[in-house]
Symmetry: C2
Subunit: 236 residues, 2 copies
């Protein structure tokens, strides 16, 4: 059994199919994706290990998944802090931010200082649509993630990694290897270079769409919105 | 400790607050509400007891919650069938229906026949905005639910019940006492007359909104989107 992956182009096409054939709204998909992320964090870092979670959000959909995850983490009893330096004017992301503010979740502008006061980090900066180069303030943020000893869960991709080829050859991210990754919908090719624990989330793909993209998705258990998978794509 | 409940008028006002103060979209709220319903069904009727679930959906939001629940139940391995006799032209409900059709979930027009071929029923016909009287085809459907021996999980209210005063004094629903009820956001006054197992769902209410409506919500456990509560509102 070999791990089947989804190229960046196909990941984008699959998302479009979910919204056209599947008739999902972006609100729904992001809610379920963020819920998956929150469950993966709970599995790798239960509240007993420390409740402070720094959620670093990028400007696009990956950041939106992080905002949703942060809200669910709050409801699980964590104390999230949001770093969201390039806030989108998109109405959905603004609403996701308001939902957090209504819970009094703090937003920070100082990533290095916040890094000293957290027990876990969610890297929701860049996902499958990232193609580089890193723009400010993200080179410094990626360098900080690369060198921190605090555990990081990356969403869909370790940020700065190329979706097909993995870590950049040099510069920020070249040595970034987070201990945890959650792939959304399906693993991307970069997972072949990933050495940590790997989860899959997004329990909403229909068999028709899975077949169209030649996905070989492991079965989720019970009510879980995530499943841990091994190097060959098998369920762990 | 007494169970605090939410009147029909306040339930409607709270929903409005979730969408204004809370900045939630109806897509998000319905996704999370339906997810809660699916989890309650899983708890009271795990797949090992029979996978066939008949989901009866009314024309409004309660029906929408049922459509979302049916999709999640499908992903858990159940075989849902949808009875949805008064389909809304509302775009959201149409999308929720399409999502089910993309999973090849069957829709039925024959409630009595479908009742003979199911292991569990989800009653998502009417919720907190119901004020009677029952219109066709629902009197016959409620009578069938009232007399069936197949277990029923009602969403927010046993359909036909008055939100404040419980079952109607006579006619269809007068003797309808489903074994399971899931209240969404907060219990409604009718729960004082309900004798089955009672769950609460809707893990998205902020402390500010809970305080505004004088809610005394039990704590959810772990990753659960539902919590079972007793007669006095205590967590079971």
């Amino acid at each position: 059994m070999a791990l089947k992956t989804l190229s960046a182009a196909n990941a984008a096409a699959l998302d479009k199919d979910l919204m056209s054939i599947g008739a999902f709204s972006i609100d729904q998909l992001m809610e379920l994706a963020g819920l998956s992320v929150s469950q993966a964090v709970y599995h790798v870092h239960p509240p007993s290990r420390g409740r402070r979670i720094l959620v670093a959000c990028g400007p696009g959909n990956n950041g939106g998944d992080g905002l949703v995850a942060a809200r669910h983490l709050w409801h699980y009893g964590y104390k999230p802090t949001i770093y969201y330096p390039k806030q989108s004017k998109n109405e959905l992301y603004q609403r996701l931010s308001t939902q957090l503010k209504d819970l009094n979740v703090p937003f920070t502008n100082d990533f290095p200082a916040s890094l000293k006061e957290t027990d876990h980090i969610v890297d929701a900066i860049f996902g499958f649509s990232f193609s580089g180069p890193l723009r400010d303030p993200f080179p410094a943020v990626i360098s900080a993630l690369e060198s921190t000893t605090i555990p990081v869960t990356s969403v869909d991709a370790p940020s700065s990694w190329d979706i097909e080829n993995g870590p950049p050859k040099e510069g920020p991210g070249a040595k970034f290897m987070p201990p945890f990754l959650i792939s959304l919908t399906a693993p991307k090719p970069l997972v072949k270079l990933f050495e940590g624990r790997h989860f899959l989330g997004g329990r909403f793909v229909s068999p028709g769409i899975a077949e169209k993209y030649n996905l070989d998705l492991p079965e989720y258990e019970g009510l879980d919105q995530v499943v841990e998978i091994g190097k060959n794509g098998q369920k762990l």
